[in-house]
Structure formats: structure tokens, C-alpha cells
Amino acid sequence: MKEIIKETIAWLKKKGVDYADIRQVKRISESIKVKNREVEAVSKSEDVGFGIRVLYKGAWGFASSNILSKGEFKRIANLALQIARASSLTQKEPVRLAENEIHKDKYVSPCQIDPFKVSLDEKLNLLINACDLMLKKPGIKVADTTLNFFRSQQLFANTEGSIIEQVITESGGGATATAARNGETQWRSYPNSHGGDYATRGYEFIQEMELLRHMEKISNEAVALLSAPDCPAQETTVVISGNQMALQVHESCGHPIELDRVLGMEISLAGGSFMTPDKLGNLQYGSPKVNIYADATTPGGLGSFGYDDEGVKAQRTEIIKEGRFVGYLTSRETAPLFKQKSNGTMRADGWNRIPLIRMTNINLAPGDASLENLIADTKQGLYLDTNKSWSIDDKRLNFQFAAEAAWEIKDGKKGQMYKNPIYTGITPDFWNTCDGIGNQSEWHVWGVPNCGKGEPMQTMHVGHGVSPARFTRVKIGGAK
């Protein structure tokens, strides 16, 4: 295959392209879902193909195919070239790419236990046992469990001479207990909602999750929520759990710093950004306690890799420094705007998609407080735990999140449980009220496997290293 790719690259060079790259990808996946002890789905999937991206006279073309023959490489290369010519029909300014080093390398993500070699029986037993533990609790109607495993093998080559092989293994899963009574349902999840937690690691990540140890707690809490009062509307101090902070960072920081979005390239679907170029270096995004960075080298992070999908080495970039906005996620096309090189965030959801600027691991640096201390140091407020719903406007300013559960904090102690808590705010106003961030021992890299962007839609796997954090003067509203 390497030879065919090299020949195709040589052919494209002869055709006079400004730049071209080819990615050949094989992706295998396994998905298991067990609900109420019954196996709902077990499936394996193999997806193979290649995509060719061509920059010709400053305009882009991309074509892709699942047929891996020499003739098809030639046909698709030619088609990508024709598409680039069509793009040039409306070209105003030709695209110029930032320089990049030539890399000849191989990257393999860490994986102690190959999840594809662990028996199906062991995986099913884990999930069935988790269901058993949840269903022990009277009032639990639905016990949902899931495991997902992915392995992506990619060969990247470009007209500048880079040839990069990458093998990335991902594992993840979780459980949700749903309680029902009189037409009302409430649920609690572990370790996170919407499918659990994910990492670029092997089956050891699932073992370390200790799923079975947490089923009793989430079942008890789901049932307790049915009798809990609705969270009262108020303006108060909130301490937010780590898994909810992951989504808070994702929606209100991760997306608005994507430079393609900032430049209007995503405006028709996902929207724009309030973090416009004039705000770089000037915007006080958060309080001085807030430090956020993008880091594609975070060990085990779901957004970790060796090289991005245009061959730029994985790296760390400062985004928010002591509350001030200092950096974007960039690509080779967009970085020249600031006379910079790309910071390596172009990622594609498979061989048949072009790379877009995507989050890697967008991490909130740990502070110096334990969760215990954040709560103990709060006179009146709420503790909000685990995401239930999320929504944010198309410039990433007005957000609203619902959490699965809340607890009143009074005189430094967790008390009354509340159901249906919702909090809302305006991004920089909210982050500027941050007055405490959990320390390193509370810090965890949460994997978010369902970040959507682009047309055709691309689902990206990204990570967020965060600790619980505290914010003041937060508007809380009820669902009713």
C-alpha cells in the first residue's frame, strides 16, 4: 500500500499541485450494550479506505474511496484535482499553508491489555453483573451499560515528504441507573453520563474504572431523586463536579477557540465564536485562577495522538493564562493569520473526511483545593454533579446545562438533595467568578467520544483534564 501511496503522491506532484496529502485508514470497533441483564447489541465493525486532499492554485479538493486498488487511487487523485479546480471558481484569496517539518515516524498509543483480545464473555459478564447490582435496588426500572473499543491504523503521506504511521487504541464505557415512579424518571450515571468515560488506553482503563463498586451508589441516588424536591431557582455559589466541568470546558472554551470557527468557516452549521482575533491577548476570559491549555500529549487523553491529520507533531498550547485569552487551536491554513505555525489540531473522523480544527485535550490546570475544602469553604450554595443536558448559543456565550443531581451546601456541608438542577450563564462572566479549582489529586482526563462538527458531520473523540471547580453568583433555574 505504501508504494501505491508514494506513486500517487509523485503523480500529484507532477500535476503541479501546491500541496497534497493522502491518509489511508483502517478502523476496527467493537460495541457492547447490556440493558436489564439482556444483551441489547454486540457488534464488530471494520472500515477501510483512503482520502486524498489536494491544494491546487490555492483551492482545496478532496476525494475518498473504500476501494484500495492502484487504479482507484489514480481515479480519486484525479477527482480531487478536478474538485479543487471547481473550488477555484469562487476563490478570492489563495490558501497558503504554514510551514511544517518533514516527519518520518511511527506512533503507537499506550495499551497494556488489548481490548480486542479480551473475551466477549468477560465483557458481557462485567456488564450483566453491573445490571444485577443496579436492579437490586427497588425502584430501578432500567439498568443500562455499555463498552466501546476502537483501533485506528493510519498511514499519512504528503507531497512535502512526510510519512507517518499511527496506531491508536481507545477504550471506554459506563453505566446508567434509571428510576421510575408515577410517570417520572430520574437517572444517575457512572463514571459519566452519555456513555461513560473514554481514553486512548487498553482494557486496563475499563478495569481501573471499577464499574461494579459504584452501581449501588448510583442506583440509590437515582431512586432518591424521585422523592427529592425540585432545585429552587436562585443565584448562588456552585461547586461543579469534574465530569460536568469537562463539558463546561468543552462547550464554553474548547469550541470558541477553534480558529476555523472564529474565521466563519463553520458559521452555517455549528456557528461562530465570540473569541474574535481582536480579543487575543486582551480578553479577560476568566479569573486569574483559570489556566486552560490544549495538550495532544496528555497521557491516555482521548484527544492524544502522535501527529495531527496534516502531519503536525502533537504539542501543548496555552489557551487561557491566569484568566487571559492567549491562544487558539490552529491549522496550517489558519495559523499564518498570526504569523504562526500550526499547533497541530487538524483531525479527521476517518478516511472519508477532511481534517478540521478539532479539540485535542483541552485541560483546565489544577488549582490548590480539594473537593472537600471547596465545599467546606462554601457558606451557602449547591454541588452540581454529572451532566444531563447541554446547550449554548452559536457564538458560545449563553450556555445552559442541566445536571443529574444537586445537593445544597450549607455552612460547608452537603445537605438536601435536589432534582432537575439547571444552571445558566454568559461564558466570560461565568469564568470570571471562578474562585476555586480542585487540586492535582482531583484532576482527571475525561474522554468525550461524541463531539460533532462539520458537513458531512464528523464525530471526534476529545479529552478534558479537569478538577471540580467553584463559581459564585451563578443563576440556577428549575426545569419546570
Binding site: 457488534s43 464488530k44 465493525s45 471547481a86 424518571t185 452555517s268 446547550s391 458537513e455 458531512p456 433555574g477
Partner: protein, 449 residues
Amino acid sequence: MTGREKIFSLLSPIVKKSPADQTETVIINGQAGLTRYANSTIHQNVFEVNSKIYFRVALGKKIGVAATNVLSKDGLKKALGDAITIAKNQRETADFQGLPDKLPYKKLKTHFKKTANLTPLQRAEIIKKIFEKAAKHNLTVAGAFSTGESEIAVINSNGVACYQPVTSANISMTAMSDNSSGYADDLARNVDDLDFDQLAETAIRKCLDSKDPQELQPGEYTVILEPKAVAELLEWMNYIGFGAKSFQDGTSFLSGKIGQKIMGGNVSIYDDGNDDQSMAFPFDFEGVPKKKVFFVQNGLAKGVVYDTLTCVKDKTKTTGHALTPDTAERALGLNLFIKGGDTNLKKMVESADRGILVTRFHYINGLIDTNNAVMTGMTRDGTFYLENGKVKHGIKNLRFTESMLKAFSNVEQLSRQRKLIASWWSDVGCITVPAMKVNRFRFTGKTSF
């Protein structure tokens, strides 16, 4: 495109010779091009050829599923082997009553050559004209224009052999000024059914009319929701409430309410895969012909959609709404409709003393309280304040947090004309809805643009 005969001759022998007790294969095969533009420049322009073949096998009541896009003999053999290995190591699925039998399905014309053959250059030429129209008003345009063809076949060891070729053409455009935007889109099986000029004019007019938007305080307002906004709400209602799984889990807003009045008497919501006024598709991914299913009829909760597995629990029959074999969600509506009324958008606006006209929503989330279909989301790309039956001015975007059971109980008017709105499953269906005038719709927040 491979064609009916070639697909059947490739896959039927594999199904026939499979050592499993029962075997089903689903193939989705096709090619599509998408041209994306922003700042009145084509910045992304892509083409894809791909196939996906699923094998679902049963050994007794043990089921295994595997998928591949490798169409070689070895690739198909491996996928079938993987499905059998999974089934061997599986637990029994108590509700599995066997794969469906062969049933006739409606003949529909869903493939149009011109749509299938539209070139990237032809797409670019159409888009260029839209840019030129916008430039006359000093506006830029962003959006996407896609065309493609696919073929879907389902074959099983009980004799099911379904095949349907489809095309689709979908364009969206947002006209942009410094402080306003206007949106328009359309979808069709036949690219000739898209009126690019009219769409561009709509987007441009909305952008110009909403310039210098004013701030409006959140609160309860009469709203006129254009079809795109209605479809976005309905898409979430489908996800949280119209499938058998959420209904049986008790999380659906229809759970325990069948026969009860849950919406206004003028509201009927249904799924109909055979209505060729929309993006019709006649069978599901088990090869079962699609039945028309009412979720809500004249305000009364009526039912949900099923596949052959989920129907067993409720002692009913499949409605022909199975999703692909790897999907744990099992069944959802893919050809959603809201019955039209007897008015039009212009008359709706004229009937409003004071209200808000919403072009579309952004980032709706319906997981807040699924039993009451409580959702939140933002307005975008053309939100207007109405007074004395006229559009007064554009307004800055607002956040709603509202129960759809309440909102759909307060529907005062529906337009006769309905519009096709694309969703993620657009090859096999879409959402076809009227505009709606809804009283006392709750906005809970605002933003600065």
C-alpha cells in the same frame, strides 16, 4: 452504484450458504459530493465513495452483528464469520422471534439521474450565482450544497430481498451582514425541485430585515415557528419519545399516556415512509414495509414505532421502523410529518398582535425532562419582533426552555403548506412540517447578538 442484480448476486449466495440458523445482510452503497462555503468562498469541497455491509446472524436466539466496508470475497467472509463468532459467545435474546418474512413493499421513484450525476463544477456554478446575488446587498454567504446517490438492499434467509436506489440534493445558506444573518434551506430527491434563486432571496431578505437587532426581554410570547424551527423540535421529540425503547423504558413523554390528550386537538404527528411528497423510503433495515404510524392524532397520544424485537414486549407487530442492525436504539421514525392546517405564514404574521417570528433554532437539547418533553435551545439566523400583524424589527437571540407538551397544546394555527427539512438520516427520510403559531412560548434567557 452497483445495481439490484449485482448486489443480489453478490450477497444472496452468502446468505444462502451461511452456517447460521438465520442470516440477514444489509448493504448501503453510494457516492456523494458536498461543497461547503463561507465568506462567499468555497472552502471545503469533498467527494466520497463508500459501502457498508452488515451481517446479522442468529444461532437459535443468540444474535451476532458485524459490519464491513470491504466488498471483497475475503472481506465479506470475515464479516460473516465475526457475526457468527459473536453469536456463539452471546447470551440469548428472549424477544427474538426470528427474522421477518418477505412482504411486498410500495414501488416508489426515489432516484433521479441528474441529481446523481451533478458535478462539483455544476454545484460551484450554482453557488457562485448565490454569492453574486448576496454581493449586490454587501452580504456574504455560508452554507453547504450536497448531492449524491445510494442504494440500500436487505436480504435474509427467509426470502426477504428488498432494494431501493435513492438520490438526494440538499442546500443550506446563511446570508451574513456585520450584525445579522438570514437562513434558508431545501431538500429534494430531485435537484430540479430546488429553487436556488428563491432560497437565496429568502436568506438575503431575512438578513437585511434583521439588521441592527434590538434586545427583547425573555418571557412568554406568542411565537410563529417557521418549518425549520418546528422540525428541529420534532427531531428531538422523535429521539426522546417516538421509538419503542424510550416508550418501554418509561422515559418517553408518550409512556403511560396512550389515549390521553397530551397536545392541542389541531396537532397530529405521524410517520409515513410511503408518502412520496416527502423523502419516501418504502422499507426498514429489516426489509419490513413501512406502516403509517400516528404518534399523536388530534392531540391524543396514539403510539410509537417498532422493529421485530421491540414489538414483542408490547405484544404488537413491527411497524417497519428498524434501524441498521448495529443500532441498540432499534426503531425510530425516519419520515416524520406534522399535519398541516388551513392558513399560511403571511396570515399567521398578520394575526399576531405581539410576538416573535423564529426562523430556526440552535443547539436544542431535549434531555432536561424527557417525560414532559422539556427542551432548551437558542434562536438564530433571523429572529423578529412582530407587532400589529407586521414584522417590526430583528431581535437579539433568545433562549427558550419549554415543555413541548405545553407548547403543542398551545398551537393556534398551522400552515397548509409543509416543507421538507433534512435530518441526519436524509437518504431514507426527512421531516415534513408546517409553520406553527404557538401561544405562551417561554423564553428564559438572552444573548448579546
